[in-house]
């Protein structure tokens, strides 16, 4: 088995140098890590599993990669090897991302972006890599299904001043402040996405389309008390029937408060803010704008 192991590693190395990632992974996955013939220590097992997963991920093959990451997850909990642990974390985040579990992927990317050490083993952690992880966290959060959990992660990212430097910051700000996103902004953001994030869903919409439509729908519910599906369809850039379908699903999943009058084809948004609190919010806005007027009069010397 020793000889087989050495040959496999050599061949896999050759495949890697030729960029044949999956072949290299298959070659390594032929190594029997659980053989009773020889003692294999956990660190070796962990490093092989992570290496195979990383190779599969080079070809965006999340299925095979996940199989090896799951094996690694039993070993990583008591592993003290920071380099391997970090590689495991990155693989796991990328697999979640590929499987479109965007919120969990975002949390792991964010966790990776907060690494304080700049030198782990012989790996140097450069700012650029951390910034990439942070940017991936923002992208995944934006693609995640709108709702309270996503809002919490958005708030964390928005308050992290490192995000100010990211290219995706403008869209993060609009999404966090629940403002409606216009087509040009969405297209610009689409350019940054990885292929799997632009994949079409069964209902012939991309992941991004769905995320953006749901976001704009949620933003509209903050702006309007009610709106007809014709207008809503125009606002969202989709057919009225589609708008009604998405709105009804969001209401059903309790990610938006409202009711739909199908006869009139109108959606009534509900805001469970207490009337008295709403009143205080209106007063707050009034005082702020009065303050702004006084300040601009002061600046004009009036």
């Amino acid at each position: 088995e020793e000889q087989v192991l050495i040959i496999r590693e050599k061949v896999a190395e050759l495949y890697e140098s030729e960029g044949e990632w999956s072949k290299a992974a298959q070659m390594l996955s032929g190594i029997d890590l659980d053989s009773s013939m020889r003692l294999v220590d956990d660190k070796f097992k962990l490093s092989k599993c992570v290496q195979i997963a990383r190779l599969y991920l080079e070809d965006d093959d999340s299925v095979n990669a996940e199989a090896f990451i799951n094996k690694a997850s039993f070993l990583v909990s008591n592993s003290r090897h920071e380099v391997l642990n970090l590689q495991y974390k990155v693989c796991y985040a990328r697999i979640l991302d590929l499987k479109r579990k965007f919120l969990e992927a975002a949390l792991r990317y964010y966790d990776i972006s907060q690494i304080e050490k700049r030198q782990i083993g012989d790996e140097t952690i450069d700012e650029e890599a951390l910034e990439q992880a942070l940017s991936a966290a923002v992208t995944c959060t934006i693609l995640a299904a709108a709702g309270p959990q996503r809002s919490r992660v958005l708030a964390t990212l928005y308050k992290d001043e490192r995000c100010l430097k990211l290219k995706v910051y403008p869209i993060l700000q609009k999404v966090y402040l629940e403002r409606i996103l216009r087509k040009p902004e969405i297209d610009a953001f689409a350019e940054e996405l990885k292929p799997h994030q632009k994949a079409f869903l069964p209902d012939n919409f991309t992941v991004l389309d769905r995320a953006m439509i749901e976001h704009n729908l949620l933003s509209s519910s903050k702006l309007y008390k009610n709106i007809s599906f014709d207008e809503l369809g125009t606002l969202l850039g989709i057919a009225p029937q589609k708008a009604e379908k998405i709105a009804s699903r969001m209401i059903y999943e309790d990610r938006m408060r409202g009711s739909i009058d199908q006869v009139e084809a109108v959606i009534h948004f509900e805001d469970d803010t207490e009337e008295m609190q709403l009143w205080d919010q209106q007063i707050f806005g009034l005082c702020q704008s009065l303050n702004d007027i006084l300040e601009s009069m002061g600046n004009k010397g009036l």
Binding site: M276, W279, D280, I283, F284, N291
Partner: protein, 312 residues
């Protein structure tokens, strides 16, 4: 000159640690000066705990008979009144924090601990007294501060108390005078038994020139918050709790009244005095609640006239 207080004189601190003037006089420390920063951090932390008691430590120095609190930091501990020594959970954190602080050039030592009594006033419970006595035995100078975040919101000013305990068995010469405050029925026992084991210190506040500048800027927006908040809404639950506590006290007073009519032990004048003081307290408490409620209503009516009566 207002910033001179922020200067840390290591030699002076070492000297007073040497001389230990507090060791001979249980009432040695009489004043507390708290920085605006420390006060804000303690109140914000106390409020974040909601109805759960939270605790933290204060950093600063002693200056004559005053303890000066420069800064405060929260401890990862909750429920201080439910365990004898909640602080024990945070020893490791405290040591790390203090050491890291010194590395960062913050030389002030820990001079006390603070914790919150949400909704039941600022005093030391039995657990607090024993914790503070322990602290005063091994970590002098050490201060105990209590903050009531709930009453802070309803009264519109910070409900805070600073205390020092007497040594075991010490009998204070005179009754410790403390401002009247409502103690809920379910806490009155704990309050009564221990209130002679500690005394409260006068609290004053100070701020740096930068604090003054920042607070002035904030003050410009303060009026917006005053107009766009409604104490009646924010405190509904707390007021309901106070009224139900009042009802219980009334019930208890009534029972005792009925009961004392049978008990011939008290002379009529003593009995009258006894009942009166209890009923007088209840009346005071209800007046206090009502005044706060009427204040809240007045602000609502003024807001209604200001913002709703204008017709285009």
């Amino acid at each position: 000159s207002s910033d001179a207080i922020f200067y840390y004189d290591e030699a002076a601190t070492a000297r007073s640690q040497q001389e230990k003037p507090w060791a001979n006089d249980p009432n040695y420390f009489k004043r507390v000066k708290i920085s605006a920063l420390a006060l804000l951090k303690m109140v914000v932390h106390a409020r974040s705990g909601g109805t759960i008691e939270v605790m933290g430590l204060m950093q600063g120095k002693a200056d004559g008979d005053a303890i000066i609190v420069m800064d405060a930091f929260a401890l990862p501990v909750e429920g201080t009144e439910t365990r004898v020594n909640a602080q024990a959970d945070a020893y490791e954190y405290m040591v790390d924090y203090s050491q890291t602080n010194k590395q960062a050039g913050r030389l002030e030592n820990v001079v006390g601990w603070y914790h919150s009594h949400p909704g039941y006033g600022c005093w030391l419970s039995g657990i607090d007294v024993s914790t503070q006595m322990l602290n005063q035995r091994y970590q002098e100078p050490f201060l105990a501060v209590v903050i009531d975040p709930t009453r802070t919101v309803s009264a519109g000013k910070v409900e805070i108390g600073a205390f020092r305990t007497y040594p075991e068995g010490y009998k204070p010469s005179d009754e410790p005078v403390s401002e009247y405050q409502t103690i809920p029925l379910n806490k009155i026992e704990d309050f009564g038994v221990h209130c002679k084991q500690y005394y409260s210190l006068d609290i004053t506040y100070f701020k740096s020139s930068l604090d003054s500048h920042l607070l002035d800027l904030l003050w410009n927006k303060y009026w917006v918050n005053t107009l766009s908040s409604s104490p009646l809404l924010n405190n509904g639950e707390y007021v309901a709790g106070q009224i139900s506590d009042l009802a219980e006290k009334l019930e208890q007073a009534e029972n005792q009244l009925a009961h004392s009519r049978l008990g011939p032990f008290l002379t009529p004048s003593q009995r009258k005095k006894e009942d009166e003081s209890q009923l007088a307290k209840i009346t005071r408490d209800s007046a206090k609640i009502t005044v706060e409620q009427v204040h809240g209503l007045m602000s609502q009516v003024i807001k209604d006239i200001l913002f709703n009566s204008v017709r285009p």
